[in-house]
Symmetry: C2
């Protein structure tokens, strides 16, 4: 079963990558971009077939490795 | 209106970041991980309020800057 972990910088945390993208978009002539935040998606292919167990395993992985919970928040979705 | 652009490496394209995560998860004792793919999410806060126009603008940004369409595929979602 597949799980997707979305990791985003928390609100209020400086996001230099997002800022760089925002400036680049402006430079390319895209107007009307107020804010850009850049995060990560990690797609996990798990052998676990029970949705509840797969989700809790993915959350555990996110907490221990994929996200830095001091500055990042994460969300797990099963696909 | 907010748009999210998901950028993933295309199937068949080598994903060293995903491989590194996979090995790290194994090292941490997580079993049952078959495959890991690592991608990006870019959250755009656009002034455009028309959903169709916002989506097409975000797709345009993805094609021109956010994704390298030779090796990456992208998907736009409005939030």
């Amino acid at each position: 079963m597949k799980a997707r972990v979305y990791v985003m910088p928390k609100a209020g945390v400086l996001d230099p990558q997002g800022k760089a993208i925002s400036h680049a978009l402006e430079g390319l002539g895209f107007a009307g971009v107020n804010d850009v935040r850049a995060g990560k998606v990690i797609e996990l292919d798990l052998t676990e077939t029970d949705p509840a167990k797969a989700k809790s395993a993915a959350e555990d992985m996110a907490r221990k490795l994929l996200a830095n919970t001091v500055i990042e928040s994460f969300r797990v979705e099963l696909a």
